[in-house]
Symmetry: C2
Subunit: 222 residues, 2 copies
């Protein structure tokens, strides 16, 4: 759901994906790749507060004026990192053969991305509270990742694990939210069992019909 180090780093640049590549080729494309790699490296090393256009230009070996003209400010750089992550990488959720397995692997990947040292994913989330451009970019990235994950629910429906009317997005949010709640909001030390536990709770809720479309909203006892 969040970009892993690999996805935001080298893989996005070198991936041999057959999808159309939107990055312009030639010198402009190379400059962008150098600058975005420098942003990721600076962000990972110094966090949002240490990020500056001058520092990025120096690290990328690109002229300051070019960076200022094309990206304007730190928010512009972050937004472009997110855009590159979303459009260039070919991440798909793993197919383990079961809903529980798929959700557990997804949570494990998210935990690894968020607790890597340095974690670009965590730095981008923190930056989204500082820069409106970063916040917009991150919103698009979440949307893209949750959309890609809907196949997990579609596969479970095909296998007969879930009723066809299951609301994929609500199930995916239920499965993944506890991990982010701990790591980003509560800031509690990550429990290594959390990915599997949260996946299991969401799967059990789904099997019990919690995410059926048009299911009662649960107000009966209010």
């Amino acid at each position: 759901m969040t970009p892993s180090e690999e996805q935001t780093g080298d893989r996005a640049r070198t991936s041999g994906s057959a999808q159309p590549r939107r990055r312009p080729g030639g010198r402009t494309g190379r400059t962008r790749a150098q600058v975005l790699d420098a942003v990721r490296a600076e962000l990972a090393e110094h966090g949002y507060d240490g990020l500056s256009l001058d520092g990025v230009a120096a690290r990328a070996g690109v002229h300051r004026a070019t960076v200022y003209r094309r990206w304007r400010d730190v928010g512009g750089l972050l937004a472009d990192v997110l855009e590159a992550t979303t459009s260039d990488d070919d991440w798909q959720p793993q197919d383990t053969g079961s809903l529980l397995g798929d959700l557990t692997v997804l949570n494990s990947e998210n935990l690894a991305a968020m607790t890597a040292r340095p974690s670009i994913a965590a730095a981008l989330i923190a930056a989204s509270f500082r820069s409106e451009e970063a916040a917009r970019g991150l919103r698009r990235l979440w949307e893209d990742r949750y959309a890609r994950c809907e196949v997990i629910v579609a596969r479970a429906v095909r296998r007969g694990e879930l009723p066809p009317a299951t609301d994929a997005r609500r199930l995916l949010v239920a499965a993944t939210a506890p991990l982010y709640h701990h790591l980003v909001l509560l800031r509690t030390a990550p429990d290594p069992d959390l990915p599997a536990q949260a996946a299991r709770a969401a799967a059990l809720a789904a099997f019990a019909g919690a995410f059926g479309e048009g299911s009662p909203a649960g107000g009966a006892s209010r």
Copy 2:
């Protein structure tokens, strides 16, 4: 789970709680109350970026030197607002007579606190990404609120709704995390059905044994 406007505002100051009051009385106590009210008002109106010791002193009608000496910086002010919220308010989760009802009301209160205009709760969460003191204070506040909510699970166990070995904290996080995930991280427009839906999903998972202590971590299909 987060402080409501009422709890962080007038109620904390005027509450007739029978609990021992830790706030010192007399002029020092009045100064603190004036300053913390000013912090809440400035934060709500201008957000973290508009918060300054000078602005707080002016609004509170307290001498600048007093504010600088006692609270030092913006982080110190925020930490004290959180401390006052935690120690002075007598918030308890409502007892509706059912697990589903209790969790739904809890989520509804959290949604109201987070979407109030202005929302002090949302401002404090945003500030926690900027100030280490605010982050520490918020961590204590979350811990306090989740601890107070454990009675929801204890009541459900007493009623026979849940097995005695249910892990209260995991259940409470599962019930409340989706709301914060939408509001704080995904930043999607809040769905009015979300409090009830998330409560229902967590309750169904709990009834199915998802939060039983020592329950398998769900790795069976990996």
